[in-house]
Symmetry: C2
Subunit: 280 residues, 2 copies
């Protein structure tokens, strides 16, 4: 009997472990993973996420994800619907968010502009911000038009490049940087219907030519959206404002009108935002 043998399951499987070198910090792998799970849960928006979705999204095995989620549920950071078994963020996350709000809540700054746009256009107005390689929906205001395109919930994360906001946040960056970001997000972008990384690059190119982000790929069939980035005083885009409506309301002329409206609001915002207020 050789003691080295021992059903060598673990050994053989370590083919490419550590493929992600954590996040640069050693001795905290599982925390890195837990943070990834929390983010992954918000990809699905209000519907919640299933175990497999999260596992696939994070590139982890199901038992691992299950164990970490169980712990997060015990902590109150995650809730699980007993019926559907789907996972949602929990009360602790909301409570902690309140404590973080004073530093990161841009609502006060953007709300008047969003409300004006919603009122003047009748459509749905979105505020998005960049967070790493993601684009997070930070606020949403509905206009009066009775057919409302509520395609994106507040708090939902999507890969940069997806949606008008995600395009807007990239369209002013250098080509090189855009390519890197889109490449890094490519596999996630492929999760949005027929959208693919090269398509995103094309959309960005066209948006640059137009002067505003245009998303007519209809991630949600029948919906089209326009967007513009908001720059900080150093010229870096840190937020985006978008307007979404059903395709029939988005004629070529109206797109131009909306873009003009957006542009004037964005200009006003950029004048207000002084260096100290803008997020890196």
């Amino acid at each position: 009997m050789d003691l080295k043998q021992a059903r060598g399951s673990r050994r053989t499987a370590s083919k490419k472990r550590n493929k992600h070198p954590a996040n640069g910090v050693t001795g905290a792998q599982s925390i890195h993973r837990a943070a990834g799970l929390l983010r992954a849960i918000t990809f699905r928006g209000r519907d919640g996420a299933r175990l497999v979705d999260v596992a696939r999204q994070c590139g982890l095995e199901r038992p691992t994800v299950h164990r970490i989620l169980k712990c997060l549920v015990a902590e109150g950071m995650v809730t699980q619907d007993p019926g559907t078994r789907r996972y949602f963020l929990g009360h602790l996350v909301f409570e902690l968010g309140l404590a973080a709000a004073p530093q990161f809540n841009m609502q006060q700054l953007f709300e008047p502009a969003l409300l004006r746009l919603a009122e003047r256009t009748g459509d749905t107005v979105y505020l998005s911000m960049r967070s790493g390689l993601d684009c997070v929906c930070m606020d949403r205001k509905e206009g009066a038009f009775p057919i409302k395109t509520l395609t994106l919930d507040v708090g939902t994360r999507r890969p940069l490049g997806v949606g008008a906001g995600g395009i807007a946040l990239l369209m002013t960056l250098a080509d090189e940087e855009v390519r890197e970001i889109v490449a890094a997000n490519a596999w996630r972008i492929a999760g949005y219907g027929s959208l693919r990384a090269p398509v995103v690059l094309d959309l960005i190119k066209r948006s640059q030519a137009l002067g505003f982000a245009l998303n007519d790929r209809q991630l949600t069939p029948g919906a089209i959206s326009v967007g513009l980035p908001v720059m900080n005083p150093y010229g870096a885009p840190y937020a985006a404002i978008g307007i979404g409506a059903i395709a029939s309301r988005m004629s070529a002329e109206r797109l131009q009108q909306l873009a003009a409206l957006l542009k004037s609001e964005v200009r006003a915002l950029e004048r207000v935002v002084v260096a100290g207020k803008a997020r890196a």
Copy 2:
């Protein structure tokens, strides 16, 4: 050669595994700890927390806390002020909070009552909720009186039993349960000036006799606060509304007036809250 031997270091040492029983979930100790750190950061409110504070609060060694915090910073869940080295919650926590908000945000429900109270009294009105053994400040509205007692920031956590809200959340529970909770929080309660667990028990007893929570221990010298719990349809307290002001505004008669005002608002709220809406 016996294969069991093999440098027997690990085997022999497994004498007292699980010396910390985590949180009931095995295989996720460091996530449990990370969640504890995040909570600990919110104990200090807007000032942020120092490494030692967090370590003491969580009962962990400084290197452990340092490593976990470094990871949380890399994830964007925590920020560190480069000057003071104090830790704050990061942008990711706020973003995740937005995604959790639809399920846990009670603002809409309570805001009108808070605003009415702030207007009619001129003082500062607080909304608190229970979270495990903590009491979390969920909202705050300022009245018109020019000397404002802003003793508690939104998002700040305190041990149940501390402050008018923390007393209110306990005053309707069975004595046995109160004793257990206060005992569990005793060491943390001792971190609030001269406050001690027995004092808290006395405050609760007096509040029960008065019919409203009264905190005149002046955690913040010069400030006194009153509070009442809000019960869910099953008779369990799940929130508390409090009013704080400087001591000179808190005569015996005025306390009674404030309690009466609180009571009528709380009654109205309890009528509105149907089973489905109330938090467990």
